[in-house]
Amino acid sequence: MSTSDEPTITLYTTQTPNGIKISITLEELGLPYKVHKIDLKTDVQKEPWFLALNPNGRIPTLSDTFTDGSPIALFESGAIMQYLVARYDSDHKISYPAHTREFHETNCWLFFQNAGVGPMQGQANHFLRYAPEKIEYGVQRYTNETRRLYGVLDSHLEKTNRPYLVGEKCTIADIACWGWVAAAGWAGVEIEEFPTLKAWEERMAQRPGVEKGRHVPERHGIKDLLKDKAKMERIANESREWVQKGMKEDAERMEREKQREREK
């Protein structure tokens, strides 16, 4: 049992756009939490203890304790954010009350990020930065799709002429998008193409909760890195090496599992 001054929330995370969504949400809500850094390079996320918390073997993952003492472990950044505001944002600092129009609209944009921007920008990163062979078609397809999605965000912000995606208030939908938009250049997307979205990104960056939460579990370096082309190339090469190692290990693990299944 935890003592009363020890936080009940533990965030399992890494310095990535999906990871910082949760630390930013926690900071915006002013909630105390413990941070458990997961080293993706050594595949900690595929260890049994971690899979017991998140069957998908990814970060972010969050564990918490209910008032009756029973534990909960959640995966998927979108679900974690929905949980945090449902349980802790009774003042509606970064969310709208359930069953309101704005509540539902927030969820549209939250899923737009999780099912659209995240996966597509992730694929752009893969083909541009990590893929073992350069497939020009893949780079084009996913950079363009990411640009298309940014265009949707940009014109929505422009048309509604409000500071955030759902009205006057920064919500979990904005927080979900921010880490990805701040890293646009890494995916080969020029944020200058999208002036209203760029202004939104800067507005978000001004928020103390965003500033504090983005540096978890360590410094958020991407914005500086994008300004230093030479360093960016070097880091890209290093990342390429370990991502490919990971892909190879995944393939081997799958083969071993299949083998075991066949032997049964």
Binding site: F66, I72, L74, G78, A79, F112, A115, G116, Y137, V152
Partner: protein
């Protein structure tokens, strides 16, 4: 509720049929409007979904318009599933459902969709490593479902009843044969717990009804 919900859909795309299954399961009246891909970036769809994709819905009973299948499913359940047929309001189940729905939305939909894209539009290009990438991801994602069900020893993802989080997976899983060809059978053999779960979902009357309607729509 009295007036039918308007569902913007496409005959081929899996995502709108996910919403149709939920509407059917909840016994809600709805009217389907099929939109061709080339008409998605203009009105009336673009006014409902700035992303110009299907599904999207308009609910004349509440005046709410929604896009993104995952958000639509949550809206329908929260608004109309008063007796919790497809959901839980108790913790932690209520939140675990969201983890699995988000996993379907971000892990199954986009990656199965990428495989479909390369399969449909670019078999001629020499993109083997890209095609393998998405085939492997399909196998991995269904492996996560299989391992979870096996470990829990339950018939459904969360708790002991079929929920929206299970049903959300159905349309893309139905496309497995199309996506993997010969490989589909192998995956199903390797993942028997997944396969049994999928068959269990397919046997539901609401799912059967949507399968029929989709076949009918595509034969017109």
């Amino acid at each position: 509720m009295s007036k039918p919900i308007i569902l913007y859909s496409h005959k081929g795309g899996p995502n709108p049929w996910k919403v149709a299954i939920i509407l059917e399961e909840l016994g809600l009246p709805y009217e389907t409007k099929f939109v061709e891909f080339q008409d998605m970036k203009e009105g009336p769809l673009i006014d409902v979904n700035p992303n110009g994709r299907v599904p999207a819905i308009e609910d004349p009973n509440t005046g709410v318009a929604m896009f993104e299948s995952g958000a639509i499913v949550e809206y329908l359940v929260e608004t109309y599933d008063k007796s919790n047929n497809l959901t839980y309001t108790s913790s932690p189940e209520k939140y675990l459902l969201k983890s699995w729905l988000h996993f379907q939305m971000s892990g199954q939909g986009p990656y199965f969709g990428q495989k479909a894209w390369f399969e449909l539009y670019h078999p001629e290009k020499n993109l083997k490593s890209a095609i393998d990438r998405y085939a492997n991801e399909i196998r991995r994602v269904l492996g996560v479902v299989d391992a979870h069900l096996k470990k829990q020893g339950t018939e459904y993802l969360v708790g002991d009843k079929c929920t929206y989080a299970d049903l959300a997976w159905v349309p893309w899983d139905m496309a497995l044969q199309f996506l993997l060809g010969e490989g589909a059978k192998k995956v199903e053999e390797e993942l028997p717990t997944y396969k049994a779960w999928h068959d269990r979902l397919m046997a539901r009357p609401a799912v059967q009804k949507i399968v029929e309607e989709r076949t009918k729509a595509n034969s017109q």
